[in-house]
């Protein structure tokens, strides 16, 4: 099975649980006192999808969303974006639209968008009705799901849904762009082909 690397970027206000969702997904772990994202800015997990294996390269905001200063490079080459809001905070849902707009502006054109209403274990203090969020997601053709990183609800499902929406690789030749990352000791032999 071929491994396909898919960059996924997380968006959403500070404190809605972006890092917690990834932490749950990748490590199946929940930390009540997770500090605002430091260091853990990039995590990966591989899941099977049809005839492929999807290796999610999940980029966290590294806190740059706090003062609304995410750099466009954050979105480069993303196959999918997960926009997270907190179902107990109406504000975080209202700013969702700003994140969608920012994504349309800076993100790749064919990006798969998923909206995750997190903290659904706190239903008793819910401020965002599920119906309203779902309708908004439908209006922008985004995946919608309510999650609880704390209780491990729908986190796997979120990424499965994303996997399903990723179009299969049509032509692997086209995909293999000859751009590359810089490495410490590039092999002179491998590249001396001409």
């Amino acid at each position: 099975m071929a491994i396909r690397e898919l960059k996924v970027c997380l968006l959403g206000d500070t404190g809605v649980g972006k890092s917690s969702i990834v932490c749950r997904f990748v490590q199946d772990h929940f930390d009540h006192n997770i500090s605002p994202t430091i260091g853990a800015s990039f995590l990966t997990k591989t899941v099977p999808s049809g005839h492929e294996l999807h290796k999610f390269l999940i980029w966290d905001t590294a806190g740059q969303e706090r003062f609304h200063s995410l750099a466009p490079m954050y979105y480069r080459g993303s196959a999918a974006a997960v926009i997270v809001y907190d179902i107990t905070k109406l504000d975080s849902f209202q700013t969702l639209k700003k994140w969608v707009k920012e994504l349309k502006e800076h993100g790749p054109e064919d990006i798969v968008v998923a909206i995750a209403g997190n903290k659904n274990d706190l239903g008793d203090i819910r401020e965002v009705p599920m119906k309203e969020a779902k309708e908004f997601a439908e209006s922008i053709e985004a995946i919608f799901i309510e999650t609880s990183a704390r209780n491990a609800v729908n986190v796997e499902e979120l990424f499965q849904k994303i996997s399903k929406q990723i179009p299969p690789l049509e032509n692997p030749e086209v995909e293999s762009n000859d751009s590359f990352k810089l490495t410490r000791q590039p092999s002179s032999t491998a590249r001396r082909c001409c």
């Binding site: 490590q27 990039f42 003062f67 054109e109 490495t183 410490r184 092999s187 590249r191």
Partner: protein
């Protein structure tokens, strides 16, 4: 996104997100300093930025708007023994003589073209009546639409023909080119990444070394510059620079090939013969090597990239640097970042953020609070009137009113064809254009193709740079007229030889190479980062950043490798520190796009155990985006 207040205490406050500032930010944050990184602009990278086409139009408009900031009295925020030092809040002097020209049609000739146009993959983005009038209103730049009548009668193309798929890039055999209209440029605008500066990375230059050393390289991808060209006797010629090129060259005589190879081999060693030429022009040295005009031209202008009066020792040093950079990643010494140069400062900013740096755009510093006795900056007052204490303050040169004597001249063109069409339409070319008259400036030109993600398929983005002698348009329009055609071009017979300019703009930008880090009558813990310098490489900014870092933290390591973020998580607390020492593990991350798959596999099961409970992960962990070609 709420209007949250910034924390009020940091170790280092940095204003401006240019390259040097961003490197300082990453370096400080990396060794544990609390960094606040601000920019008064709404975008990253200051004068190093890249813009989408629409973003660029906005930027052009902004250059014309004078921002007047009312001076407020902050003295209530002062403590005993402190005084205020106001910063200049505008950077207007860094960009001058901005002129925009549009040579393509304003609108599509056929509106229903959308369905047939493979470029239009988005559904919702309509070409909103983008306001050209913003240019016309402005009084310090001009926009000229020189299109309608002439463009329609361009011979050799049938504007009325049912639009053929303008997918020259997709089906390379398709000879009919349909010029993109201005409306289409706007519509496809987000697929452009237009740099304000035009630079390249030397494959063994200090920026490449720093990216690799710090592991910031993981955030960016690069492409090789695929060929070196030079403009000579009215023709574009490819410069043979590697052994393979020399042997494959069809334009060099066998004798020349032998001479060139002998010269390239011999100049790597310092000889007594060379020393005898110290202080004398490199051109004299080359002449005496009996290389002939052709080779002399290539060596002086395209390989050493120096002028006729550059001393021999300098010319030889540049030649050696060029040769040393060959073959590290490709057949030319140069690299270009995918999505444009503006990515690089952003990558360093991300590194800073990952290690806890705080980022805030659209936020400035109004004044510094200076301790009268020690002449040190104790705190800054931000644009919201908050006092933020800091031990060091780093600022871009525009905010301290440094004098700008030296200017660079720039032109950026969107064209419809390459200056030297070849087998592939995806070439990245570095072009040297020697001065037309003796003593004139040498023009450096970089032509980018769509796979660099800086322009749409079917177009090329051309950056021209030289030292200013007059306004940008005065300096560069003769060169543009010589190598490209516009609707103003005469001699219609010759048109097919030269690319057509769809849109272009000219401007002068302050050259930061002469700006000092210290001084400027500033407190002793305030350091100034200069804007982009005029040279092709990035050595100036990297050197400056390292200098400032060591001023702030004399005993700390500059940008040590960041641990692999995955290792921090999996290995728990004791692992994070341990990993940093472990060069072997570092290598694995760095190498995972090349041939070290074997080692990567060793690491994979270790992490798999913890996270993948019921998934079988294949042991053949081949990287699908491998760079071997």
């Amino acid at each position: 996104m709420a209007a949250e207040d910034l924390p009020s205490e940091f170790d280092v406050v940095i204003l401006g997100t240019g390259l040097a500032e961003s490197v300082v930010a990453a370096a400080c944050s990396r060794v544990g300093q609390r960094v606040l990184h601000l920019d008064r602009r709404s975008y990253y990278a200051a004068n190093w930025a890249s813009f989408t086409f629409n973003g660029l139009l906005t930027w052009i408009q902004e250059q014309n708007e004078s921002q007047t900031e009312e001076v407020r009295d902050w003295s209530s925020l002062l403590e005993e023994g402190e005084e205020l030092l106001h910063l200049s809040d505008t950077d207007s002097a860094s960009i001058t003589n901005l002129q925009v020209f549009c040579y393509t049609n304003e609108e599509d000739e056929e509106e229903e073209a959308e369905s047939a146009d493979p470029l239009n993959t988005t559904e919702e983005e309509k070409p909103e009546e983008f306001s050209h009038d913003v240019f016309i209103r402005s009084d310090f730049q001009t926009v000229t639409f020189l299109n309608q009548s002439q463009a329609a009668q361009t011979p050799g193309e049938e504007p009325e023909a049912a639009r053929p798929h303008p997918s020259a890039a997709q089906s390379q055999s398709e000879p009919t080119r349909k010029k993109l209209s201005y409306a289409q440029l706007v519509k496809e605008g987000r697929r452009f990444n237009i740099d304000l500066v035009s630079k390249l990375l030397f494959s063994r230059g200090s920026l490449v070394d720093l990216l690799i050393k710090s592991n910031v390289s993981r955030y960016a991808e690069f492409k090789n510059v695929t060929r070196i060209l030079t403009y000579r006797h009215g023709n574009m010629e490819q410069v043979p620079c590697s052994r393979a090129d020399v042997f494959a060259s069809r334009q060099l005589l066998v004798v020349e090939k032998r001479k060139l190879m002998r010269f390239l081999n011999s100049c790597m060693e310092e000889t007594e013969e060379q020393q005898a030429y110290n202080g004398r022009p490199y051109l004299d040295f080359l002449r005496d090597q009996q290389l002939g005009d052709n080779l002399q031209h290539f060596l002086l202008h395209s390989i050493a990239m120096v002028t006729e009066d550059t001393p021999t020792e300098e010319g030889l040093a540049s030649t050696r640097h060029f040769l040393r950079c060959l073959g590290r990643y490709g057949n030319t010494p140069f690299l270009f970042p995918v999505y444009g140069l503006g990515e690089i400062p952003q990558c360093f900013c991300r590194m800073c953020a990952v290690f806890g740096g705080t980022y805030c755009l659209r936020h400035s510093v109004h004044c510094l609070i200076v301790d009268r006795d020690t002449n040190r900056c104790r705190a800054v007052i931000d644009s919201r009137g908050q006092r933020i204490s800091c031990s060091h303050f780093v600022v871009e040169d525009g905010c301290v009113g440094s004098d700008r004597k030296k200017m660079a001249t720039r032109a950026v063109l969107i064209t419809d064809a390459s200056v030297l069409p070849g087998e592939s339409d995806q070439q990245v070319s570095m072009v040297t254009v020697p001065p037309a008259a003796a003593g004139g400036p040498t023009v450096k030109m970089v032509e980018l193709c769509s796979s660099t993600m800086t322009c749409v398929p079917g177009t090329y983005l051309v950056h021209l740079t030289c030292q200013s002698t007059g306004s940008a348009h005065q300096d560069l329009s003769p060169v543009v007229t010589m190598m490209f055609r516009t609707t103003e071009s005469e001699e219609p017979g010759n048109e097919h030889g030269r690319p057509f300019v769809l849109w272009c703009f000219y401007f002068n930008m302050a050259d930061g190479s002469a700006v000092e880090v210290e001084g400027h009558q500033l407190p002793c813990n305030v350091y100034v980062c200069s804007g982009p310098d005029g040279s092709l490489g990035h050595e100036h900014a990297v050197k400056q950043a390292e200098f400032i870092f060591h001023k702030i933290l004399p005993d700390e390591d500059f940008c040590p490798p960041a641990p692999n973020p995955e290792d921090i998580i999996y290995d728990g607390d004791e692992g994070a520190a341990g990993q940093e020492e472990n060069q072997g593990e570092q290598e694995i991350y760095l190498q995972n796009h090349t041939e070290h798959n074997a080692e990567e596999e060793e690491m994979t099961p270790k992490t798999t155990k913890e996270k993948d409970k019921n998934q079988s992960r294949p042991q053949t962990h081949r990287n699908t985006r491998s760079m071997q070609h």
